[in-house]
Structure formats: C-alpha cells, structure tokens
Amino acid sequence: MRKWIAVAAAVLLSGCSGTTASDDSVAVAAYEASSVPFDSLEAFVTERPVIATGTVIAVNDMAYEVPVDPDAEGNIPGEGPEIYGSISFKLDTVIKGDVKPGATLTIVYMSGKWNKADKKGGRLAYTHEKLANVQKPDSRLKSPSELGGTAFAIFAAPKPATLPVKAAGLYVAGIATVDASGQLIFAGPSPFVSKTNTAVKLDDVKAALG
C-alpha cells in the first residue's frame, strides 16, 4: 500500500490565515464524493431494496444534528456538530420493496456542519451534485410548492448503521426526476453505466428487475 494513503497527513498550503466566522454566517461548500457507477442498470436496481415513484411533500435542511467525535481521525477538539437534512416523498407507485403506495418515505443526507461545538461561528451548508434537482445553489432544498408536484424516481435503501442519525425509519437514496415520457433524469453522474447509451425510462427499470 502506498505510503501516502496509509499515513494520515496534513498539508500546509501557502497563504493560510483568517478570522473567525460570525454566529449567523453560512458558508456554502460542495460535498465532493467520487462515484464509481454500477456496470449496468440491472446491477443498480438489484442493489436497491426499494424503488418507487413519488412527489416531495416536506423538506428540512436541518432536521438532525450529530456531535462529532473529537477523537475520530480528521477531527479536532471543538468541532461543531454535523447537520443532516431530510426530504420526504409521498409514494405514488412502488416498483420494488416493502413499502406501500401512499406511504411517506423520508431520505436523509449530510446537509452541513456547525463551525464550532457551541454553534457560535456560523455553519457550513453543503451542496451535493446528485441532489441538484432538489437543492438550490445556496444549498437550501426546494420546497414542495417550488417543485410543483415534480415526479421523482426514488432508489432507496434503509439508512445504514454508519450514518450517525439516531432516528428510525429513515432511508438514503439516489433520486431522478421523471419527465412526461417516463424518462429518468439524474442530477450529476448517473449511478450506472448505460450499455445502450440511450435515455433510461421507468419501463426500463421495471424490465431490468425481470
């Protein structure tokens, strides 16, 4: 294994100096996560326990807060809590999974972080490339009225144990808008490689499940 991966390191870049942020300031930053797509649509839908369509009925940019472990690698004493946002969908159709049409499915994502443990000094608000169809450039989520009943395809899985939000019944998901022809439009890179290099429709998702 390469040394540069095995050893935790801090890189000092030139010109680092600054002042402390004010209590009410919000800095917007992109959460950059690399993405290795599934080899095919079939592999993607097989991996997702719940696949449904629905509309957004509620959003909350700051639904949950989780203190950070100051002893965890990469953290320092005095770091502020992480903030998680939620998006709730009313399900219209269920293609796969143990959920019912009409039910509410809520997904969570890391939406930001307080600058300091006492929440003074402002907060960071993260934008996510793959949530660009529900998130504004300033990181706030579009309201249900702003989304205007936009149909979404939701490729969800129960919240993993590694996600520190304690609340039960939550999911994580990849989402795509569904246009009038049934075509899926993912924000950011597609989660799968399309072998046919053509647009994927909801019917293709159903067919991929066999």
């Binding site: 390191a9 801090a10 870049l13 996560a33 993405s35 994502y109 890179p189």
Partner: protein, 128 residues
C-alpha cells in the same frame, strides 16, 4: 507544488504527521471506511470543508480515501484518486477534460493521475 503527482502548480505543501495538525493546517487527509454513496455507488474518496473563515472561504478541509478499495489499487490509479481529491481541496470541480477530475471514476479506467493544464492554470490564478 511539484510532487509525485507531477502537478506543476504554485502551491507549496508540507506534510505533517498524524494528529499533529494545528491552526495553520488547511487539509487533513487519511484513509477511512467511507460508506457507499446515497445511491449505492461506491466512493473511492471524498472531500469536504469542515470549518470556514468569515469570508466564506474554507479554513480546513477533510480529504478521505476509501481504505478498503485503495489498499487494493495498483498502478497509477491510486495516484489518480489522490490527484482527484486534492484537486477538489484546492477548488477544482469535476471536469471532463482528460485530467484527473472526471465526474465518475473506476478502478478499471486508466484515468490520468495529473491535473490538466487548464485546471492548473485556474489553480495558479487563484493562489498565485
């Protein structure tokens, strides 16, 4: 910065040891058990700002490599991931210009391990 990534930028870098970062640390990076992305896709690494200045600029960023995958990487792919995530840390976004900043990555793709001249020019303009 002219290092093993062959990136010729105006940045200078000093590596410090584990747990010895201080007030002047800009980027903390390490291997970690990064969970899958929300859509189930694997992530080879991620970068996010963890604290900021009143100006809105990032004070300290966290850069992680997925430990379970990077341990098995051979050839230049590991350097490509490092180039990609450090590129984010100095302000580069995903960019499909043949450099190390594609929007999607794969262990099988022989993607380059250097920043493109275009992105290097942007970094130099920002920090020079």
């Amino acid at each position: 910065m002219f290092d093993q990534y062959d990136a010729r930028t105006v940045l200078s870098a000093v590596e410090k040891c584990r747990y010895c970062w201080g007030e002047k640390t800009d980027i903390v990076w390490f291997a970690a058990a990064i969970p899958a992305n929300s859509d189930g896709t694997q992530s080879l690494g991620d970068y996010v700002c963890r604290s900021f200045y009143v100006s809105g600029k990032c004070d300290r960023g966290r850069l992680r490599f997925k430990e379970s995958l990077t341990r098995n990487i051979s050839g230049d792919a590991g350097f490509g991931i490092a180039c990609h995530e450090i590129g984010h840390a100095v302000g580069a976004e995903h960019y499909q210009d043949g450099g190390c900043m594609p929007s999607t990555m794969s262990l099988d793709w022989p993607f380059t391990n250097v920043l493109s001249p275009h992105l290097i020019a942007h970094i130099d303009a920002q920090y020079g």
